[in-house]
């Protein structure tokens, strides 16, 4: 058997975090009718909520001293400070500054979470996946169209 050490292998560590929040899909660039047409029920002026789940995947060499890519306590604390504390039990449109400008579709929520977690100091952020419900999920790996590497 050719023994390969974890340090030399491509390994991603993924952790799932739930949060609950409400949002309303409404674009200031569209008329009332167009908003209704584009977003349907999600355009309800009072908003509505979801139990979101965020999957955060990080990569990096496995530290032989700890056997870890990153200490989960560090990852948990960073995700809590950057995302869960500011997002959980909020109305995203009003209470998260970025969504006063941007429609909080789960695509945009996913990109915003990626942007907030990219600075994690202990490992490389590979992927953010957001489940809006158990049936809808959105993934972002930091790529833009045409920049596939």
């Amino acid at each position: 058997m050719t023994e390969r050490h974890a340090k030399a292998m491509k390994i991603h560590l993924t952790r799932r975090y739930p949060f609950s929040a409400s949002h309303r899909l409404h674009s200031p660039h569209l008329s009332e009718e167009e908003n209704q047409l584009a977003y349907g029920k999600c355009n309800n002026p009072f908003g509505h909520g979801h139990n979101y789940v965020v999957e955060v995947a990080v990569s990096g060499p496995v530290d032989p001293a700890t056997g870890m890519i990153a200490n989960l306590a560090d990852l948990d604390a960073f995700v809590a400070a950057q995302v869960l504390d500011p997002f959980d039990r909020t109305y995203l449109n009003e209470e998260v500054a970025e969504f006063r400008e941007t429609v909080p579709t789960t695509e945009n929520v996913c990109i915003e979470i990626f942007r907030r977690l990219r600075a994690f100091p202990h490992a490389k952020l590979e992927r953010v996946l957001v489940e809006e419900t158990a049936l809808n999920k959105f993934e972002y790996t930091g790529e833009s169209q045409g920049s596939r590497s």
Binding site: M1, A6, A8, M9, K10, L13, A65, T66, G67
Partner: protein, 164 residues
Amino acid sequence: MALPARQSPKLRIRGQPPRIESAMVYITRKIEFSASHLYNNPALSPEENRRVFGKCNNPHGHGHNYVLEVTVAGDPDPRTGMVLDLKELKRVLQDEIMERMDHRFLNYEVPELAGKIPTCENIAATIWNLLEPKIARGHLHRVRLYETPDLFVDCYGEKNGSAR
């Protein structure tokens, strides 16, 4: 400039579509095993071990129901339509993983993990090393190991391995 009027597409069906000569297909088999472990690095002091590993440093150990998803990639054999015989994969998983790890204390009873801290990362890498040479058809693409439903590791083998 005026665009030409769009023409209605004409559906032309000429018998069967051509057979795809070669297609990479990924097949995944899942198993579950239960095992205990603890995290302790003898090079660190007891205080450092507690600080780095927290509750996982409990000397009595603790356990998980691990879920392992093994993905094999390959071109289906034109005679059987199979990437590999799932019976064969089931047997490999039984012999290599279940026999070794199920209902074991990973630190003390799995020689491949001796001297390593049995984190999800290291267990997944060890499982990769055990399975990779045993896959008779296709090739091992990914080992995904869930320690809990909210924590998993994906291992894709050698970082700079040949592109597959």
